[in-house]
Amino acid sequence: MYGGDEVSAIVIDVGSYSCKAGYAGDDTPKAVFPSVVGSIEQTGETDEAKADKEAEAASDSKNGAKPMDVDKAKTKRKLYVGQELEFRRDHMEVISPMKDGTVTDWDIVDNIWNHAFRQRLLINPEEHPMLIAEPSTNTGQQREKAAELMFEKYKVPALFLAKNAVLTSFASGRATSLVVDSGGGSTVVAAVHDGYVLQKSVATSPIGGEFLTDCMMKSLESKGVVIRPRYSFKKKEVGPGEYKVVDLDLPNTTESYKLYCMKWHMQTFLQLHMSFQMDNSMSVRGLPRMVIDSVNRCDVDIRKELLSSILLSGGSSSILQLKERLEKEVLEESSGNTRVKVLASGNSVERRFSVWIGGSILASLGSFQQMWFSKAEYEEHGVSYIQRKCP
């Protein structure tokens, strides 16, 4: 059991679009950065790798100790995370660790965590308990993998895994609710009953914010508007108030990087201009259906209660009028005189970070400290104990 609440815990939520990390007890995450990485396949010996090797050899001969990330040098690709992604590099592909809302590439997740701890929060993970928000669809295997990585590589003193839907539900004061989490990569509908996710009710759809961005890009393209990523041109001030735009030709830029740049900036733009009237019929069609299907897979006794507390969260849920529309359409689709109520926080920051905020509060509760899965327990019972500690 871990009882120290004097060292604050770290809460980290790696979503399909952005990664949120910060201290428990804060009301917004300290670091928010894209949860994609740039990767350069290292076929031959590049200059950089050579320099690295030489430096390594030098340090080896000096003190005989091996540098910390020796395994990183062995991997064939070089990964760039966070701000390092802001610079264009030749042949850099942008890849995401997630596919359909679940983690497929742990190496990338590892890099993202590492970046969050050491570059953004500037902490030593060995000193802080860690609360990780995981997708509701996570399998037991994935949870074990996450726990193993955290204990073995980062040597965290204590760990807790909490499901996204549960955190969202708690953050809005309900232990039973139907959580509609519309994020960047996907939309997940999950029923939470008394603090547990009902696994059979979980429904996912690949339509999320990125899909909307794609649609918007297509529609702009069809109108003949060309969107240029920022790196592809230079703006020079030739005279006071006079600007000259010079196009740059960078043939080695990969397609995925170009797309990433355009999307990230467009998304920022969309978030700033939420009053932007978007034709959201694409994303909303099917959502009421998903909600009804999900509810129907639950026990008949709790259906009424679920329908009367549908929680809307995630970055894409800030679309104008989504709440009203969802409420109306679910009401039309549901049978009889059921009460349908869609709840969403009026504060868009709270909606975007609802999962993180939930985790932040949970981890900062004095009375929560006995719930941690501690390093001692990990060593005693092994990694599968996580399933018992954090159901």
Binding site: D27, F160, A162, K163, V166, L167, S169, F170, A171, S172, G173, R174, A175, T176, S177, D194, G195, Y196, E305, S308, S309, R339, K341, L343, S345, G346, E350, I357, G358, I361, L362, L365, G366, S367, F368, Q370, M371, R388, K389, C390, P391
Partner: protein
């Protein structure tokens, strides 16, 4: 089994008052709150049996979370006197996220202490604990 729960303790007084309400019917309602300093759920207020629903509704603070027990008396269609014990988790939208979180995560544990709850309600605004809702759920 461990859950994503806060692990707030429950004051013995909570159980005693509830048993009195259930067995002796000495109260109309009980309002509980979480004392963050003591890390436990405590009784905030009790209502005499002569009080009615309106007094109960007035006792719920507008922007703070509470748990509440309400003993609802009604007459069925067959002209039969009945009563049902309601458990209400009150967490208005305007309350602090932190307190909503604490109340939601402690609810399950607290509810298990009170044996004999017949209907459970979650409410974020007064319409969700309206007399019509209570009447609807009682039948």
């Amino acid at each position: 089994m461990a859950n994503a729960a806060s692990g707030m303790a429950v004051d013995d007084e909570c159980k005693l008052k509830f048993l009195e309400l259930k067995a002796k019917r000495t109260y109309r309602f009980i309002i509980y709150k979480i004392d963050e300093k003591k890390k436990m759920v405590v009784v905030e207020k009790v209502g005499e049996p002569v009080l009615n629903y309106d007094d109960f509704a007035a006792s719920l603070p507008a922007n703070e979370c509470r748990y509440a027990i309400f003993d609802y008396d009604f007459v069925t269609e067959e002209n039969c006197q009945k009563s049902k014990i309601f458990f209400i988790a009150w967490s208005p939208d305007t309350s602090r996220v932190r307190s909503k979180m604490i109340y939601a995560s402690s609810k399950d544990r607290f509810k298990r202490e009170l044996d004999g709850i017949q209907v459970e309600l979650q409410a974020t605004d007064p319409t969700e604990v309206g007399l019509d809702v209570i009447r609807g759920r009682a039948n």
